[in-house]
Amino acid sequence: MSEQDTKLSSRAEDFLALFNKGAEFTRELLRENERLRKQLASVTDRQESAARNPADWEKLRRELMARIASLEEECTTVRERLDQVELENSQFAQRYVEVEEENNNLANLYVSSYQLHSTLDLDEVVKIILEIVINLIGAEVFAVYLLEGEDSKLVPVAAEGRELSDFPATTLGNGVLGKAVAAQESTCWDTERSEDLAQPIVCVPLVVQNRPIGAIAVYSLLTQKDGFSALDHELFNMLGGHAATAIFAAKLYSQSERKLNTIQGFIDLLTK
């Protein structure tokens, strides 16, 4: 057999295979056509039968009405569930805002107390109190007072917004500040500014173990701040306790350092 004959035979076989596939596909189409024709005939038959028999129509109508009622009920249930989910969603959103606010407040309180107790140097502690009152509360004019001497005098030791010498010293139980410190109760007036340095808008007594050691007096807030928030009151409470403890600890440390140096000097003198 020549090479040309072999090629011709191979092509003929390919063609035959293709033809067979086509034939099989045609048969499949015919079968499907027959199946659909039967299905159509059955549907037509059912419809004609229903049309001939009014009882069948009534039955069909009742079934459809029941289906509509069931779907409407389902729709109402789904709508109610949707409303419920929307309500839950809005409650979650509200809760999220509250948690965010709480988180922010806790961060402020944590950072403040952490900073207050990060040093035993009195000047540093007072500087940190100033930072907290400026940066976290947003006060413009304020002063930190410490109780000094036998006559329980409240003396300003640090201030912002005005010269330190502008702030009047006072005594325990006298004036707005003195009375607040004596009563060991924070006072806050619902105003944003006081030009009178004897009349602070906020007095925060600094108290350690029921013993007042000083106070923070705020006279005005920064221009962008309108009133006090819940966080500000939390910060005032925190300062009343933690700032007082920090000042007390720093004072004790400084006294003990001084005493230690004196004793050391005395020992050195004796041993030389």
Partner: protein
């Protein structure tokens, strides 16, 4: 790749509060500078995606730092957020005129800082 944030603020309390807030962002590295000069040194020697700058600082104030950053070809693209106690509109205008992208007045809320920083990092 994470973002690098520079905080230029002289108050340790504010710095800690900002670090606290910004740590909530995923994959960020936060570097602190205690005044404008320290901030300039750090921003010039390393890559940062955003800088948070206080205005009132010793050694070099925030406005001077912003003008130096905006005048430097290699740094001028860095977004800057100004954080300060100054609430008056003229201070805000001065900072924005010098090239600050955003302005936040103290006392600030951590979610406020987060939203501004996120917005600028996305826009980068």
């Amino acid at each position: 790749m994470g973002h690098r944030i520079l905080i230029v603020e002289d108050s340790p309390t504010m710095r800690q509060l900002l670090v606290f807030a910004l740590r909530r962002l995923k994959d960020v590295e936060i570097v602190e500078a205690q005044d404008g000069m320290d901030g300039l040194r750090k921003i010039s020697s390393d890559h940062f995606d955003i800088a948070l700058v206080d205005i009132n600082m010793p050694v070099m104030d925030g406005l001077k730092l912003i003008s130096l950053i905006r005048g430097d070809e290699s740094l001028k693209q860095i977004p800057i957020v100004v954080i300060t106690t100054e609430g008056a509109s003229e201070d805000r205008d001065r900072a924005l005129k010098l090239g600050a992208n955003e302005y936040l007045s103290k006392p600030i809320q951590s979610n406020q800082v987060l939203s501004v920083v996120k917005g600028l990092l996305k826009a980068e």
